[in-house]
Point group: C2
Chain length 214, copies 2
């Protein structure tokens, strides 16, 4: 598959897949781009255009076959297989990540956890023994780890990301509030709630509050 598809399109596909999975659980067999769009707050034209990058789905006026489109999206996104992840940083946030129930059902398994704090290493959490981050290279040597999750303080994050990349990890989920650098063959997604808040305050500031007097 040629990868000249805009990143923003790729970012939307998991959202479509999530909505379709929910429809499938509710026994729905067909859905229109109109209905899917209303549910997700995007235009039907946007959905049709996004999907058109990957071939023809659905027939004019007949909507999409929910099960078939979901299978196609899983196949496109690589969600038809398992992915292995390691977590670096086992503070409060790292513990929340470890105990988060949403990864495993979607095929993402955390198979290793690392921290620099001797008070934390050796601890058993959710079936994993936290290992010293200094031993990460040896611990991961010869293992096939797809994704690194970084939940360290900001000051340590770039160093940890560099080490993960040296270990052959090609995707980083970064919770640290830094604009991290990775080589071109490595993908990174930041989870930064402050950036999300800061883009909403723009609208809070510039739009009048309807009704309720401030």
């Amino acid at each position: 598959m040629p990868i000249e598809i805009p990143d923003v399109v790729i970012d939307r596909l998991p959202v479509y897949a999530r909505a379709l999975a929910s429809l499938e659980r509710n026994g729905r067999e067909v859905v229109s781009s109109q209905e899917l769009g209303t549910q997700l707050g995007v235009t039907p034209a946007q959905i049709r255009k996004d999907l058109s990058y990957f071939g023809r789905f659905g027939k004019q006026g007949r909507g999409y076959n929910v099960k078939r489109l979901l299978e196609e999206l899983h196949q496109i996104l690589g969600l038809d297989r398992k992915w292995t992840m390691v977590l670096v940083g086992v503070g409060q946030l790292g513990r929340a990540v470890l105990s988060y129930g949403g990864f495993a059902p979607q095929g993402f398994s955390i198979v290793g956890a690392f921290d620099s704090d001797p008070a934390v290493t050796g601890e058993r959490l959710d079936g994993l023994v936290v290992q010293p981050v200094e031993q990460m290279r040896e611990a991961l040597a010869g293992r096939d780890i797809d994704i690194g999750i970084v939940a360290t303080p900001a000051a340590a994050a770039q160093r940890v990301i560099d080490a993960l990349v040296e270990c052959g990890v090609r995707a980083i989920l970064n919770y640290a509030p830094i604009a991290a650098h990775v080589p071109p063959h490595v993908h990174i997604k930041d989870i930064d709630p402050v950036l999300s808040l800061q883009s909403m305050t723009f609208y809070l500031k510039h739009e009048p509050a309807p009704g309720a007097p401030k």
Copy 2:
């Protein structure tokens, strides 16, 4: 200010502000769109185009004045004031949110916390007493809350979001893995690590691993 600016542009402004704040801390007075772009992995043309929505910053060939551009972005994004937030859902994730050190320095204060579990309500965490979510309406009546943070299980999230909107909240930071509905005057940002992972696996699947044999 007319709000016909694409959402993706607004989403990038906090990223620019974060990079400029870092440059300012390091004593930098001027930065080119070229250097800022390299640092953030976007093209200089993109940066210039994004900023052009808000007027003229920087002079051709002379770069941006770091301090002045940062002040302008703060003013545009509404980061020159304080914002109040309440948290609903005080499980492991909610606790990580409460203890997260990144909100307060950026002007975001959590001023209330709510949960439905009687084992949790009454507990004092980071200076807040967790209140029963059933009493949220009374607790927030007459108070000016800008943002609601939702860290409940998926099944409870839409109900909680509806209640927050009824309390006059106009922005939602949603950690629950649902495609939530809000009225047009309310803004919502989802924090969903699974969606971020799922858009990276597309690239892991379709791009060859360079060098390292798999």
